[in-house]
Symmetry: C2
Subunit: 193 residues, 2 copies
Amino acid sequence: MLPGAMLDHSNEIRDTRERILDAAESVVVERGVSALSLEATAAAAGVSKGGLLHHFRSKEALLTALVERMVAEMRAGFDAVVAAEPEGPGRHTRACIAWALRPTPQQRARDLRLAAALLSAHAHDPALIEPVRREHARIRAAIADDGLPPGHAHAVLAAADGIFLAKVFGLWSPDETLARAIEAALGRLAVPC
Amino acid sequence: MLPGAMLDHSNEIRDTRERILDAAESVVVERGVSALSLEATAAAAGVSKGGLLHHFRSKEALLTALVERMVAEMRAGFDAVVAAEPEGPGRHTRACIAWALRPTPQQRARDLRLAAALLSAHAHDPALIEPVRREHARIRAAIADDGLPPGHAHAVLAAADGIFLAKVFGLWSPDETLARAIEAALGRLAVPC
DNA sequence: TTCGGCCGACCGTCCGGACGGTCTTGCGAA
DNA sequence: TTCGCAAGACCGTCCGGACGGTCGGCCGAA
């Protein structure tokens, strides 16, 4: 056997898991939280129900994995935005602004999927989104130690949360012009005074 | 029969409906969205399942009524806060700040119930929260015509949304000190410049 | 031949909703 | 005033279907 084959095999296993997670998100995005069943997920992933349960021993395990992957993606995305900001006071706060109001195309596509993971996990059991709470606390800690007045930094964080969570519920999303204006307004809070 | 008795009867009917709606919210608050079944709601309301279905012909009808009541409460609450703000530019924007960061004790107690209605309705069918979307649009319209730069006003609205929705998911809630600091920071965006 | 990923039939449970019945209430006729 | 009756609030049971999860077996790769 070629080493490549082993790699392929290993990747296939991993791909199946990822494919199932992708499928679960797709079901929620396209048909709503209430349609997220093991059968529907398996069908969308091109796998039998037994096959799905081979990878995730229960629905809760599936949702836990969904949340973990979501948090990892959010963390990586946010950290990348932080890295793109110049060092100095207000760095993390400005990163919040950029993350919420200057989403990359990939981020834009992923937002709905992150929302799907958050909503479905929370609907099944609010305790499942504990990793999200921890990640939020991590960002709050960075924000609080950002060299800005705490009120300013947390106001910006709240606004970023609001932009994202309003999109989660499909309540509202600013158009490009308004996004730039909001960005400018929040920017006024993100500089040392 | 006394006239009072007729009134009592009429009130009882109304109370039963309200009691069922209260019970549904209680079930969600105490046991999560996934525990919201007609049976559980009926039991919590002290009514049989048949009795519940007499007042709400389907689960969807129950959730629709829940959302309608929630929106009416939010609208009344917000309008009251607006009325308490002095007239002039930025009035609605400052009302957003007060609504999110200076909740009355009653508001505080109701926030969890509003969250329960929002989450359970959205989980069942995202289309059910359409009234919430309309109410949000109404507030946006008021905000946009508030005599402030649109970016500033919408930044404040986003922050208010973020405070509330973060509480919906149990992600975070600022303590009293931080709330005052955030209020002050947002206040800087809510005055004509 | 062994092993692990995967299949698909099956089970027990729960849920939404239907239905027929009971009791109280309001009201018009006698 | 009283009696009968229609209406509506509410009850308790039942059913069809969907869902989460189990289990024994299949099959290709090592």
